[in-house]
């Protein structure tokens, strides 16, 4: 099982990975991407089972990355981990094909609630 974590903040990538471990996903492999463009490339090269992506990133945002993936025919499970979770953003994310949106700050329980169904 492999998860691709995309965030332009190295600190936040570290916190997401730490929270994954705290949520009990000890044995997943984690690959990191530093923006949406890097994420798009690594979905192709790493074939992750799940993408956890920030929304606001330089070069390519998370939602642009998701739309590009779907336009390319990729059906990789995709969820957002982002600092804002307005109803409009959740709707936009869902319309683009995201499975969930986790708003920061989050807890290991939040991760379990969103990820268990995807990784089961």
């Amino acid at each position: 099982m492999k998860i691709l974590v995309a965030d332009d903040s190295r600190v936040m990538r570290q916190i997401v990975v730490r929270t994954l471990r705290q949520a009990g996903y000890d044995d997943v492999d984690v690959v990191e991407a530093e923006d949406g463009a890097d994420c798009l490339a690594k979905v192709g090269s790493e074939s992750p089972d799940l993408v956890l992506s920030d929304w606001n990133m330089p070069n390519m945002t998370g939602i642009e990355c998701l739309r590009a993936l779907r336009a390319q025919g990729s059906a990789v499970p995709f969820g957002f981990v982002t600092s804002e979770g307005s109803p409009e953003m959740r709707e936009t994310a869902s319309d683009a094909g995201a499975l969930f949106l986790i708003a920061k700050p989050f807890t290991p329980d939040t991760f379990r609630d969103a990820l268990d169904a995807v990784l089961a």
Binding site: D8, S9, R10, V11, M12, Q14, I15, R18, N56, M57, P58, T82, S83, E84, G85, S86, E88, A103, K104, P105, F106, T107
Partner: protein
């Protein structure tokens, strides 16, 4: 143009939002104590901020007392007490805290609005006015300030020219 920030948010709400962010990112049980008194003292230290663009335009700025930045970074990154974080780590931690504070503040403001990418440096703040909400807080004895301030408007253009 939206109402000033003081009509949209109060300091108590901002302090509550910041407390939740602190507990989740800095550490469970890490208390952010609200500052005392109606006037927040100036905090001497680095700032990180995000812009909010929408019906209300402005910035959400986090300023951390210089003495607290290394301690804060160690807590967020769970480093050892004697480990000295890099300047890059300190910047990244401040940016991410400002980003999450900004995102949570944005969700309390009229929408739709967009959040900018977080930045660090000298805080882009002007003198306080009615479009400024500023709270002070203390964490492990280190001073912090959160300032939410509307973008200053361009001065009105006055002319005596008669329209044709």
């Amino acid at each position: 143009m939206s109402a000033p920030i003081t009509a949209l948010l109060d300091g108590e709400t901002v302090t509550a939002v910041a407390g939740e962010v602190w507990s989740a990112l800095v550490g469970e049980g890490e208390l952010l104590l609200p500052g005392l008194g109606p006037v927040a003292p100036a905090v001497d230290g680095p700032s990180a901020w995000v812009t909010v663009t929408g019906p209300w335009d402005g910035v959400v700025v986090l300023t951390c007392g210089a003495s607290g930045t290394a301690d804060l970074t160690r807590s967020v990154l769970q480093l050892d007490d004697d480990e000295q974080p890099t300047a890059e780590d300190v910047d990244d931690v401040l940016r991410e805290l400002a980003n999450i504070l900004g995102g949570n503040v944005k969700s309390l403001l009229p929408g739709p609005s967009a959040l900018g990418l977080p930045e660090t440096g000298p805080a882009p703040l002007r003198a306080e006015d009615e479009d400024t909400c500023r709270v002070s807080a203390s964490w492990r004895g280190h001073d912090l300030a959160i300032t939410i301030q509307g973008a200053s408007e361009a001065p009105a253009h006055h002319t005596t020219e008669v329209p044709k």
